[in-house]
Symmetry: C2
Subunit: 169 residues, 2 copies
DNA sequence: GCTAGAAATGCGACAAAGTCGCAATTAGGC
DNA sequence: GCCTAATTGCGACTTTGTCGCATTTCTAGC
């Protein structure tokens, strides 16, 4: 995979800046991320690693993933309804929010400049210094509303900055 | 407690409309909610019930709470950083978002009409029918930013629609 | 290349959160 | 008060996440 070496580079820079080491397991974690879909949990990473014939211990991943988050490679989200720890790739992607369809389970990534601005204003009003934010809107996507079969949307041209990232898990 | 009987009424109406029963345990759950703070988990409800000398099984609460959510009595949130299931009272309170302080752990409820409007616009653009939404902004509150001792804010008059609902758990 | 010391890993045990099937109990219409 | 379906308690189980410790593996210095 091509993107992964760039990502490994980013990780290495981060680790060095902290006096930490770039180990086999950490590189593996980055590759596993590439192999995963848009949203994944730690067990998914473990499975991806195993699929490559490599094994990592769960505890190790639980220790590694926060580093990837700090390095900006991953971003923690709770996109789906369930409150399991979920992550998504965070590199080179602008911030975005999630529209989660309650019927087909699809997760649609959207971004809105106006929204960002409004959030900034809100924070300013409360003297709050934002580090990150997460907006999740649950409801029904266009296809599920119109009673069409869920899945239609995937065949339609994307609109604006919306990306459909996941079907039902 | 005064509010609880009104809430029980609301629950009863909901249950009847579904052909379900208003049981001792469900009433108890509502009372336990009243006894809890702004944000709580299922174990908190269990503890609140026990404090009244009544006992409910965990599994029962896990079955009851989703009903309370459907009835509009509770609302599911993940206000704090951890991804444990958390709830807050949902009755008669306008929608609000959360500013979560990473230093003192306080959770500040805010609401912004402009934000709501922006979200509505976003949904409309994607043909998405929103059912609910949740915005969580993590960062540092005014007091923690200014390096004052965390906790100062509680003594200051509240501004606008901000409500401080929780300290570190 | 070798060595020492620190960092990282694997392991297993544990805790917390949540789910499930089943037998016993109970609400509520008659 | 009786009857039946809904509800509950129970306990066993899964999943998710954490921790301490012994072992392994980096890296720097020689």
């Amino acid at each position: 995979m091509k993107g992964s070496s760039a990502t490994v580079g980013q990780l290495e820079r981060f680790l060095r800046s902290r006096g930490l080491r770039l180990t086999r397991c950490r590189k593996l974690a980055v590759e596993a991320v590439e192999a995963c879909g848009a949203h994944f949990g730690i067990e998914d990473l473990k499975a991806a690693a195993r699929a490559k014939g490599l094994r990592v211990h769960r505890a190790t991943l639980y220790r590694t993933v926060p580093l990837l988050v700090e390095a900006g490679i991953l971003r923690k989200v709770s996109a789906s309804g369930g409150d399991r720890g979920e992550y998504e790739k965070g590199l080179g992607r602008g911030h975005h929010d999630h529209l989660l369809c309650l019927r087909c389970g699809r997760s649609i990534e959207v971004s809105s400049v106006a929204m960002e601005r409004e959030q900034a204003r809100l924070c300013a009003r409360h003297g709050f210094l934002a580090v990150d934010h997460q907006l999740r809107i649950r409801g029904y996507c266009a296809d599920c509303r119109s009673d069409g079969q869920p899945g239609d949307a995937a065949r339609r041209p994307g609109r604006e900055s919306a990306v459909i990232v996941a079907g039902r898990r």
